[in-house]
């Protein structure tokens, strides 16, 4: 049963990801992305990463996707139907994609994957918090500084000059 649910989720993820790149309307792409994000959430659940799964929904569905949709709606006239994206340079693009698939596939097969024991971890959020605040404090703080910089920059850019 777990297998069936797993493959359904994989199908939703890949199928909707294909819709994202294939759809002619930007807005449809954005909404297809919703299902990709939800599918990835499902994959996290299968890895017993419950905290990460919920973070995925909060950050990507509740934050980033809404911002993307906002961006599309604000940068176009409501009446114009012509929000579409076309693909150019299909030949070169195909070569690049095949190359990336080759490299990634090679890495997937040569990496000695760590098989975790098939038991549910007692508490993921407490462990993540401890790791972030103790072992990985510097990267955590650097990342937050970067975000703060981006925030200030965005505010500066969007302010009207006096």
């Amino acid at each position: 049963m777990v297998d069936i649910v797993f493959w359904i989720i994989v199908g939703i993820t890949i199928g909707s990801a294909f819709m994202v790149v294939q759809s002619k309307s930007l807005l449809y792409s954005a909404y297809a992305l919703l299902f990709t994000f939800v599918g990835v959430t499902g994959l996290y659940v299968f890895l017993w990463a419950d905290f990460l799964a919920v973070v995925q929904i909060v950050v990507y569905v509740g934050g980033i996707l809404v911002l993307i949709i906002f961006g599309i709606m604000l940068t176009n006239k409501i009446t114009s139907v012509n929000i579409s994206h076309a693909s150019v340079q299909k030949g070169i693009g195909g070569v690049v994609v095949l190359g990336i698939i080759g490299v990634l596939g090679y890495m997937v097969f040569i990496t000695p994957w760590n098989q975790l024991a098939a038991t549910e971890p007692e508490q993921t959020s407490a462990t993540i918090g401890r790791l972030l605040m103790m072992d990985y404090l510097l990267p955590f703080e650097v990342a937050s500084l970067l975000l703060l910089g981006a925030l200030i920059a965005a505010t500066t850019l969007s302010r009207k000059e006096n």
């Binding site: 049963m1 449809y28 909404y31 919920v54 929904i57 569905v61 509740g62 809404v66 906002f70």
Partner: protein, 358 residues
């Protein structure tokens, strides 16, 4: 009655995993749906009556089943439901038909997922997560996508304005709500709703029940910030600028009718239910009895939880019929310049309080 429990129970009966899984999901899903429907039916009637009494009217009345609306107007909601189901389901000619039809389902799914984690009592909870509090906050944000989708697909200026306002409002108010719900998480040291409620047993300050709201001044303020932000997240008056009848007709719901509109309605009341449930679990002791040590058997637990929850829903209705609607700039001002600084200060204060008083 968690899903896990049911799956284990079916697994013990025999080796048919697919059927067991489906049965467990359906058995736990149907009550959630029934609660959603029942909640909407009862809440609509109560809302009519509450609004009537607050405006010094008598609301729906009747003298028994006939052409009237039943005793005390009790059949009014039945009439409402029948009207909604038989109403013509219109889809505007120029709308984006696929998205127009999909939007109600996305909003409904968001509300439905939230219901799954509501802890009705220490045993009655469909899904008992380690990250329950965070989960409810997270699935609340799925509804925004549906609202924006509905507003865009309707191809109507009122709808689009309503959707934009609604999204801006929900995303903004998620921040003070999220920052305030951190306070009970800090006090209890867990995001699991059951453990969070269990940590609120006993007494505090000698006589008061040990609910997180009574624990210290910061938690007391955090509750009100959370609750007001939660009301704003459900798009209810005084925060209903997304629907604002006087300016936007019905906001993002303008073009919807019949069953699709009923789904919006069902989701709105379910969202009220879920955020009230989260407020009760996080601050008001969940299913803990207000008199510590008494009336705390399984049946009473359900009674206390539902009692507190219904009280909060009543307060939401009270808000609706007593406060005028906020302007957009006032709404954003309250959120970003008042609630968020106070909520941040609360987190800091609770941290210090825990450090000093344990």
């Amino acid at each position: 009655m968690t899903v896990d429990f049911l799956i284990d129970w079916f697994a013990a009966m025999g080796d048919f995993p697919v059927i067991a899984f489906l049965l467990a999901v359906i058995i736990s899903g149907i009550p959630i749906f029934l609660i959603m429907a029942l909640n909407a039916i009862v809440a609509v009637y109560v809302e009519r009556k509450v609004s009537a009494f607050m405006m010094d009217r008598i609301g729906p009345m009747g003298q028994g089943p006939g052409l009237h609306a039943g005793k005390w107007g009790l059949l009014q909601t039945a009439a409402d439901a029948v009207k909604l189901l038989v109403k013509e389901d219109t889809v505007p000619e120029t709308s984006d038909k696929f998205l127009f039809k999909m939007a109600p389902y996305i909003i409904f799914i968001g509300a439905f997922m939230g219901m799954a984690a509501v802890p009705f009592s220490s045993v009655l909870q469909v899904a008992d997560f380690n990250v329950g509090v965070f989960y409810i906050i997270a699935v609340g944000s799925i509804g925004v996508i549906g609202i924006v989708m509905a507003g865009w697909a309707s191809n109507n200026k009122w709808s689009l304005y309503g959707a934009m306002r609604s999204a801006a409002q929900i995303i903004s108010y998620e921040i003070p709500a999220g920052l305030s719900i951190i306070v009970p998480i800090m006090m209890a040291g867990t995001m699991n709703l059951q453990l969070l409620i269990q940590s609120q047993s006993g007494t505090v300050w000698g006589i008061l029940p040990n609910w997180i709201i009574f624990n210290n001044p910061f938690t007391f303020i955090a509750f009100f910030i959370f609750f007001i932000s939660a009301v704003a997240e459900t798009n209810r008056t005084p925060f209903d600028i997304p629907e604002a009848e006087s300016e936007l007709v019905a906001g993002w719901m303008t073009e919807y009718s019949g069953f699709r509109w009923a789904l919006f309605f069902l989701s709105e009341y379910a969202n009220m239910f879920v955020v009230s449930g989260l407020a009760v679990a996080g601050f008001l002791g969940g299913w803990q009895s207000p008199i510590p040590g008494m009336f705390d058997s399984a049946g009473w637990e359900l009674f206390w939880f539902m009692g507190k929850l219904i009280l909060l829903i009543f307060v939401m209705m009270w808000f609706r019929w007593t406060f005028p609607r906020l302007r957009v700039d006032q709404l954003m001002h309250v959120c970003w310049k008042v609630f968020i600084p106070i909520a941040m200060f609360n987190i800091f204060g609770v941290g210090i309080w825990k450090l000093i008083f344990g």
